[in-house]
Amino acid sequence: MSAAPAPKAADGSAAYIGRFKVWRGDADGGELKDFEVEVNEGEVVLDIIHRLQATQAHDLAVRWNCKAGKCGSCSAEINGQPRLMCMTRMSVFAPDETVTVTPMRAFPVVRDLVTDVSFNYTKAREIPSFVPPPGVGLGEYRMRQEDVGRSQEFRKCIECFLCQNTCHVVRDHEENKAAFAGPRFLMRIAELDMHPLDAAEEAGLDRKSAAQDEHGLGYCNITKCCTEVCPENIKITDNALIPLKERAVDRKYDPLVWLGNRIRRR
């Protein structure tokens, strides 16, 4: 909070000169740099970053594409909150508030606001893909709406990786990255396990146990930060992670199921 009122823009419109702190640097180090940038009515944080780039910091690195909250490129942290820069309106901040913009803090930084998100692509590759049902040709898939409704919510994901970035399992513990797929990809397992035509089980692949044994579902302690930051408002914890935990319980911790399996194996 600062005492001095924000300077007014020259033409007396609703525009004002806003104070910003933007992280500049690379993997070898960096710092928060102060800037004063014009803010106009209706603008979002990404507009300010673009104006900053155009007028004061020409080499500022920033990743973006759609400016419509649909490509998932412009993920960053604004006043410490993981958000999309293009979907964060300047009107949520007071004109005299200093707005801090940093890159995502769970991933290695490339430069300025750009991070290396390849962790997520590695994790995506570790999830076994959809197993086509035997005897059903392409173009012959028929599914009923009530069977796919649940997983349609997960298909809204724009892969911004804000959830992956916020999840304390890896954000606060680099060493867990090898063992933990993260909310976005555990949600992918849930989606496939709920898919009415996925034939993984027939092919000998148990997604429920694998979620726990190979993709680190047990690391999640359902504290819901992934859900809090998802710009698509996907109820990741309630609709994907908890149901997946319950499915793993069916397989691994249900004594009746366990007993049945022991007997069948005899």
Partner: protein, 278 residues
């Protein structure tokens, strides 16, 4: 994983830092949030602490838990011989006189286990007491984290069994609430403020219990093809609507169960006379 180490039991990776790990943007602050992120965990921890202290006192008190016709939810069912005599109540005398402690201790482990392993309360106390994490994007103070992958927290997976017990308790408390329509002498056709308190309590216990995530799974969530189970699909939809409010229901029923006990305590100890409607 490729490793050159000698083979042996899988060892957890060594802690190698969080937001200050090498390669990440060099920002000294643990977090840069400017809102009051500490408020929610602080309120959670405070209310839970008050509840635990109050409940511990009441559970060990072994007194003032029955004010005919009302029984405190902390002491129902009462399954020891030293329970006060409750006319027609859930008073079962399974444990003989050798049980010298409060009868509440015999039954409270079930609702306690249900709430301790509840998916919502887990979030509440992991954040409020354990600071793992204290709030989103606020670095936690722990060097190492294994979550629910190992003992003891892996036991959280038993939640659904506590859910089954919780259903039994909900039925018993419903019975207790129904008995609230009899007067102190055991004649039907009475209603007092205590009846209303017990009714509201049991209603909240029911919606909280039915909104349980394990319930949602058992009712229908575990199915792959909803179209083959239209009835369970509809019920899954209803339970899901309750589950969306699980947090509010968890708090509501937590507060109400303590209020119901306090009400019985006040009437039983003579501090307050139960207003009678008819």
């Amino acid at each position: 994983m490729a490793t050159t180490e000698t083979p042996g039991p899988a060892r957890p990776a060594e802690p190698s830092g969080g937001v200050h790990a090498p390669g990440r943007a060099a920002i000294a602050a643990r977090h840069l949030r400017t809102d009051r992120w500490w408020l929610a965990p602080a309120v959670t921890a405070t209310v839970l602490t008050v509840f635990v202290v109050y409940s511990t006192w009441r559970a060990f008190a072994n007194a003032d838990y029955y004010a005919a016709p009302y029984i405190s939810p902390y002491y129902s069912p009462c399954i020891a011989t030293d329970c006060v005599n409750m006319r027609g109540g859930a008073d079962l005398q399974i444990f003989g006189p050798w049980w010298g402690l409060s009868p509440a201790l015999l039954v409270l482990i079930f609702p306690l286990g249900f709430r301790l392993t509840c998916y919502y309360y887990r979030k509440a106390y992991y954040r409020g007491f354990w600071a793992a994490p204290p709030a989103c994007a606020v670095a936690e103070p722990h060097g190492k984290y294994t979550g629910e992958t190992r003992f003891p927290l892996i036991l959280q997976n038993v939640h659904r069994y506590f859910f089954y017990f919780a259903l039994v308790f909900a039925v018993i408390l419903t019975y207790d609430a129904a008995l609230g329509f009899r007067d102190a002498a055991g004649h039907w056709g009475h209603m007092g403020l205590g009846t209303v308190v017990l009714l509201v309590n049991v209603a909240l216990i029911w919606v909280y219990t039915l909104s349980c995530h394990s319930c949602r799974h058992i009712i229908g969530g575990r199915l792959k093809n909803f179209s083959k189970h239209p009835v369970r699909y509809r019920m899954w939809g209803w339970v899901g609507r309750l589950t969306a409010h699980h947090m509010a229901l968890a708090w509501g029923s937590l507060v109400m169960v303590a209020v119901a006990d306090l009400y019985v305590y006040l009437v039983a100890s003579g501090a307050f006379a139960d207003p009678t409607f008819f």
